[in-house]
Symmetry: C2
Subunit: 234 residues, 2 copies
Amino acid sequence: MAMNDTPPSVIGRTALAVEVTDRLRQMILEGRLKPGEKIREKLLTEEFGVSRTPLREALKVLASEGLLELIPNRGAIISRQSDAEREEIFLVLSTLEGLAGELACEAATDEELQEIARLTDALRPQFEARDRRSYFSLNQAIHNAILNASHNETLIRSHALLAYRVQRARYQANPTAHLWERAVDEHEAIARTLLARDGARTRLLMTAHLRKLSSLTAEEEAGRGPGPGAIAGE
Amino acid sequence: MAMNDTPPSVIGRTALAVEVTDRLRQMILEGRLKPGEKIREKLLTEEFGVSRTPLREALKVLASEGLLELIPNRGAIISRQSDAEREEIFLVLSTLEGLAGELACEAATDEELQEIARLTDALRPQFEARDRRSYFSLNQAIHNAILNASHNETLIRSHALLAYRVQRARYQANPTAHLWERAVDEHEAIARTLLARDGARTRLLMTAHLRKLSSLTAEEEAGRGPGPGAIAGE
DNA sequence: GCATTGAATTATGCATTCATTATTCAAGTC
DNA sequence: GACTTGAATAATGAATGCATAATTCAATGC
């Protein structure tokens, strides 16, 4: 009998289709492919140096993720999302993050909670320095850490799928200093309830924290790439 | 200039890859392809009468939905899910359905709420007749109606994606008569809070309603197809 | 007798080719 | 002059073919 069970990451080579999927997703998220833009398979195959087969497989996957739309016999266009759609997504995201907070209170290790607290402590200095780029990536790290601390893979994946689709909007949201600081306050409060393992309260705080962002994101379509734009203060 | 905007469902022919995706998904959900089973591309291409190209695109999509796993150079196997995974999924689903209930209280039309109430009224007779098949499909219709009444497409899609993965478990859950009746009670309570447009309470009831199911689903792996098995009383 | 090795077979990954549908653009008509 | 028609072009959809990796199974050695 063969010994089975996926060997622990022995495979060095990544499948070409997966590679293409990831690169394309990145291009969309970074705004190198703009919403509404039509995808020319030929151009991309040349840029990636692969044939149409893996590219088309990638397009199918990204379409099922909602990042682009496939129109029969007319190719793919990058999904352009309305304000209404963004609000929908934020509403679902806020609920999922609330659940993550609640679960983290039960499932997280002490070390994980400590790490979240540590990251949160670093947040206010970035706000005070008005360093949006650093703040944004630190903020994202905190949210991800809480998600991971839920120890619920399904939740983590569902969240990631939706988070993709509003990443640019989050990045470009432009809060006032006052709102930004309140976001920092909220993060500190969340860190405290997490440490206290107060699930119900953590859920409420996290849901509320994220729902506020929904009103901060503005229509930006047909934009000129990411640029040095504003950054969400969530 | 060409008049554009997708013509309202003029296209009669569905793309082959989409067709294959749907049929394969159905086969998995119905248990015709059992968890852990390896997929032979050749066999399926012969059964469907298509080439490997659209089939492989379908596999990529279903893998991204979590219905099967693609192992590089070793093909696809139907995802076998552990009790733990099922619990994860139910936890997320319960939260999403709770949100759907909450949103429905704000967004639903009176007609939609009436329809939900009407469906709910038909539930108890099915329980009393112990007609599991009818009960199950009616129950599913109610849940879908509430989801749709949320008028949040993102929520509806996210929910559907996860619901796929526990459909069989839901179908096969075998509640006691007592638990089954309590599920009916809960549904009636939910219908009432919906009609009253009491969002917060609807959310609580729906989340609780679904979380109970999590403990009802049992490991069944390597099963012998769907069979006339038990049906969830949610 | 059992494990190990390696050739033959089979399946998957990707590229290429063929068929079909959309798009473009020029010619003709009203 | 604007609209319609249709041929030429280009793009997408699907099938086939080729290269490579995995599996099988028999032969050999211990």
